[in-house]
């Protein structure tokens, strides 16, 4: 078990290393000069050259890469020879010259928004997905099943921005049930926080629940005809116990896989929902970093998102062993 963990963590670090190299390579061969983008209309060749030097872009790519990686562990000072050197403390993911702010602090400001958005939606969609999936499976072929599957098909095929705009239009603008979203931390004003997050949660949960209803229904249907479920019935257990403790538990593995990876994906930023509801999360940050060609910020967000997904993979693999005793992590 311990050896497995060590191996997996090493593998994880190697993946991150390869990823950072490829992100770096990709950005150095991309057309467009980052130094040119730092000064807008005021650019003159002299300023561009000066900025290139400040950014360290005049150094060979390998040196740039080494400096970038070492900054994560020991911090870094940009343009040390200028009158105003920029100090970036470890863990330093770079410095956004567009925003004149450290990438790390930009991310740590946006991350909680995305975190609350993802977790809230996750809780709703898992609850709705599992329970409606079970209900559909138990009523297979009958009205309840068809109704649930029909609705979930709509949710599944509805584009996020369309459903999001519908919600904004009706709930906020037309009926004015909720004020226009204005993000505030839950510690500061829990009520406004919930008012803001409610619709984004519903939007994301609708999109994801549709898939989980289908998945859960299929899993439960598959295991319901398995022999051990018949054994559970033959013991005289109540139907509820048979379905939840015996059938659902046995069909849980693919659901956990999907849930782990979906949640990880969302934690890296829910681009459309965040934009529709004006949430300053990682998704919005990523989009604006791309439109601004803010390379240090793009690099930082890409690596962070990748790290979250790689980590989620590890967690999911460990969960397999918790769920299914036949799986041995060695």
């Amino acid at each position: 078990m311990f050896a497995y963990l060590v191996r997996r963590v090493l593998l994880m670090l190697m993946l991150l290393f390869l990823l950072s190299v490829s992100v770096f390579l990709l950005f150095s061969i991309l057309p467009g000069d980052p130094a040119r983008l730092t000064c807008g209309k005021a650019c003159t060749p002299v300023i561009i050259e000066a900025n290139r030097h400040r950014l360290g872009l005049d150094e060979p790519p390998l040196t740039q890469y080494v400096k970038f990686v070492s900054a994560i562990f020991v911090g870094r000072t940009f343009s040390p020879d200028s009158p105003e050197p920029i100090k970036c403390d470890a863990p330093c993911l770079g410095y956004s010259f567009n925003r004149h702010e450290q990438v790390m602090s930009l991310i740590t400001r946006a991350a909680p928004v995305t975190f609350f958005l993802a977790i809230g939606a996750f809780v709703i969609w898992i609850f709705v997905g599992l329970s409606l999936g079970i209900v559909a499976a138990l009523n297979r072929g009958r009205l309840g099943d068809r109704l649930i599957m029909g609705i979930s098909l709509i949710g599944y095929s509805m584009p996020a921005f369309f459903l999001g705009l519908l919600l904004v239009f009706f709930v906020i603008i037309k009926w004015q049930f909720l004020p226009f979203p204005q993000y505030i931390s839950p510690w500061e004003n829990p009520f406004q926080f919930f008012q803001t997050m409610l619709l984004p949660w519903i939007l994301l949960a609708t999109l994801y629940a549709a898939f989980y209803i289908r998945l859960t229904r299929n899993q439960v249907l598959e295991v319901l005809s398995d022999d051990y479920v018949r054994t559970a019935r033959a013991k005289g257990l109540p139907e509820r116990t048979v379905v939840v403790k015996h059938a659902l538990r046995a069909g849980l593995t693919p659901i956990v896989t999907a849930a782990g990876l979906d949640l990880a994906g969302l934690l890296g930023g829910a681009i459309i929902s965040e934009n529709i509801f004006n949430l300053p999360g990682l998704g919005s940050l990523a989009v604006s970093s791309i439109t601004d060609s803010d390379l240090p910020l793009i690099t930082g967000i890409t690596l962070l998102t990748a790290a979250i997904i790689i980590f989620a993979n590890l967690v999911v693999d460990l969960l397999y062993a918790v769920i299914d005793p036949r799986v041995r992590v060695t």
Binding site: D226, D227, R230, A234, K235, G236, L237, R249, A250
Partner: protein, 362 residues
Amino acid sequence: MTATSELPVSGMPIAGSLDRPFLSVNDLHVAFPTEDGLVQAVDGVSLSVERGKTLAIVGESGSGKSVTAQAIMGLVNRKSANVTGEIWLDGQELLHMPQGEVQELMGMEIAMIFQDPMSSLHPFYRIGDQIVEAIRAHRSIGKAAARRETLEMLHHVGIPAAERRIDAYPHQLSGGMRQRVMIAMALINSPQLLIADEPTTALDVTVQAQILELIARLQGEFGTTVILITHDLGIVADVADDVAVMYGGRIVELASTTTLYDLPEMPYTLGLLSSVPRMDQKLPERLDPIRGNPPSPIRLPKGCVFQPRCDYWQKVPGEACLTVRPELLESDPDHWVRCHLKAEERKQIAHDVKQILAGGPE
């Protein structure tokens, strides 16, 4: 043993009466509606078992033997199948009982052992916990007490190092051990009726005999009534008191085990017996399989269901075998046969076949 007539008997004695057999099934029909048509899996089965006895139900795949067992157990989904008839267990009618009451009987009064112990045990739970769950589904006793009882039972069914094995997962045990666990789980609440659905089919030949012996031993100790479902006539002789042979959803022959082996009358039973290799006899040139395949349960032949595979139907005058379903009739006392052939003809055929099998005059 008695076999009740095909039709539901009116004026049957009411619950708890002494002259009613412990278990009696009257005119049981189970049909599954499917897209291809109605599958008549069980078509008018009537049988009865006295307390403490063993009835074997024998037949090929698709003969309706397992569905009969599952109907008795209450495992046939009433929503997806049409079930009619009556099943009386110790004075209670099971088929028309509310689901909640059936649930109380399942695992408590009636228990079941299944064919494949690997797939019948939940792969994610420890075997001890699975047995404890069976106890606590019916009796309000503490976890510790239930665990003690489980341990005792595991010892009883012959699981070595039960103290350790109680916390094992099913995949950590051998096939024979798993079936012992299934038996322990089935008998943990001392049920009065045990239904064993092909309990040895998935096991090694060497283990099969051990499991059957175990069932027989526990049956003696607990006074359990046993219904043994099998396609293997070889294992029936040693353990069953009576045998019901099923074909195409019906019982085609019903007799005590000795009668059935000595004087089988229905050509199908005869075919089954001749296709079993016998250790105690000189091997014939080759085994004699029954030709053809079992009938489709959707389109059953109009006449005798076995007619398309029967070697003797032309001996019946007219075309009765093609057009008329034979009734299950009492040929000798307690020996019921469903066949259009005359009793003397059947006995002659059985005699001739046995001669051939024994390597006698051709």
